[in-house]
């Protein structure tokens, strides 16, 4: 099962083959289940990991939303066994030969069982077919390099070709520094693909989770026809530390919290995690008849 996110063996099932229908994404090794107890950043109290885990990574006491990795997110949102992954490319991405980056990539691939910080594919939510891309914060903070940019572009083109609605769940610090200008250019590339998709009548729902900043918020994350954020997610252009350095003052608390973006008119809705699947299902059903 772990093979799903590793390099497939020669002759492995191609994208969309029926074999993949019965594969479910692997669970994270990096996160919560590796420890027995966790300290909740919300209420500062110690809780059994199992209790957080069975509650979709939401603290049962204070409702703090722990960050969620991509395989788990797909598992939580999609109908069981409906997910058909779209494989990422095997081309080398360290085109600038950035020192240390190649090794770093390999170490994160081992830790997460993923090729890069994106899990993409097609599937169903409440019986509604759609294409979905989920960024994984564990992989170099969900940063977008060529792999993520190219994957999202291909996913958008796939959604357009198959007439599917598109959902992208963001959790990212922004563009990936180690890929320099290539990663910056992905912002324009993914945005252009989404532009075409929307022009053709496609529905794009952007789901913002903690954190969504930098080159990801300044491109596709803010371009959804409908933009939904998880409660208290950090969403912004610059990170709080950069703002603090720029203005040389303390950043007011809550400036970049989802709640503040809602008040300022930049997002459509805020949801609790357990409502997300239901809400997406309803929105998808309302667009069932929309032409693409």
């Amino acid at each position: 099962m772990r093979d799903l996110f590793e390099k497939p063996a020669a002759g492995a099932a191609p994208q969309g083959s029926s074999d993949a229908l019965f594969i479910r994404p692997v669970m994270s090794e990096l996160f919560i289940e590796t420890k027995e107890w966790v300290d909740c950043p919300g209420c500062k109290r110690r809780i059994a990991s199992a209790r957080v885990e069975e509650n979709q990574l939401v603290c049962p006491r204070c409702r703090h939303h722990f960050r969620m990795d991509a395989p788990r997110r797909v598992d939580m949102l999609l109908d069981p066994v409906s997910f058909i992954p779209m494989p990422l490319s095997h081309t080398r991405v360290n085109r600038l030969n950035f020192p240390g980056y190649g090794k770093k990539l390999i170490s994160y691939q081992k830790k997460t069982g993923m090729r890069d910080g994106l899990l993409a594919g097609t599937g169903c939510i409440k019986g509604q077919p759609m294409a979905v891309g989920v960024l994984d914060y564990r992989f170099l903070m969900g940063s977008m390099g060529a792999q993520v940019g190219d994957g999202l572009t291909r996913l958008t083109e796939l959604a357009m070709a198959q007439g599917l609605p598109l959902i992208i769940v963001s959790a990212s610090g922004g563009a990936r520094m180690q890929e320099g200008i290539i990663s910056l250019s992905q912002m324009a590339k993914v945005s252009a693909a989404i532009g075409r998709f929307q022009q053709a009548g496609g529905l794009y729902i952007s789901v913002l989770t903690d954190p969504t900043t930098g080159g990801v918020s300044a491109s596709f994350a803010m371009l959804g026809d409908i933009i939904i954020a998880e409660r208290k997610a950090l969403i912004g252009f610059a990170g709080p530390r950069v703002i603090q350095q720029t203005i040389r003052k303390k950043v007011p608390p809550g400036l970049q919290q989802a709640e503040n973006l809602l008040a300022n008119g930049f997002i459509d809705r805020i949801v609790d995690r357990e409502e997300l699947r239901e809400l997406l299902g309803q929105i998808l059903r309302l667009h069932e008849k929309s032409v693409l």
Binding site: F98, Q147, A175, L184, M222, L223, I247, V251
Partner: protein, 302 residues
Amino acid sequence: MNNVDQKTMEETAVSGTKAPVMRTIHGASLAQNLQQKASANAWDVVEKARDKDRPHPEDFIQAMVNGFIEFHGDRRFGDDPAIMGGIGWLGGRPVTAIGIRKGRGISEKTLCNFGMPHPEGYRKALRLMHQAARFHRPILCFIDTAGAYCGIEAEERGQAQAIAQNLIEMSQLPVPILSVITGEGGSGGALALAVCDRLFMLENSVFSVISPEGCASILYKDAKRNKDAAQDLKMTAVDLTRLKVADELIPEPEEFTVDTMQPVVKSLRRRMEHALLSYCALPAEELLNRRYDKFRKIGSLT
């Protein structure tokens, strides 16, 4: 001579049979010289790009666009002095010109926020670009910024959304867009004016996802390693030409100031006019397909 470079320097963005072939006026040996110079000293290039005496986008607009008339305001919130935009003539053709204004002297610089635009600046630029599309005018963007402003008001007014909106809409504007980086091309704040059909870069300009200082302090955990970071980020005009992100490189004189900028203005004007000749002849659909493919190819892994 490196084949790739030669190809890039001479490659025509518009390679259709009808379109005239674009050739750079300078030979391959010059490109090679430039490359050796630049890759040896990425940090020197960064310093030159930031030099206070370097001509600013406003100088280029004044020198290149005849009869320039400046327009103001985003019609939503306000008028950002850090972005100037308006209409004028380039080679007998009406154009819309947009540039980052850095200002000279402390009061003007403060007014322009040191060339770091707020969201309303990007929205003004987009408004003027839509206007250009409505009247079939090509768009010229002159870029020199450390980046989009990272302050409280900028966040509150949606800096990320403003940049994202420029990216998606510029990829669909049915008129030619030519962008030139004259000094610093700072991350998303520069990209928001650089979704174009052809990207020009002056010899000592840079374009990067993050400043070398930022990269050094975050990745190397040592802000003093900015020189290494400048090298590793491959951010100079020559590097970017090699990576096929920039399409044309414009040589500069040794001392590059407003007084000595004439040859650069002349060569940039000539190349832009030349590019417009080709792009204006393309049907809108073809123009947009090529723009899409230009970005589609960058970091394409398939």
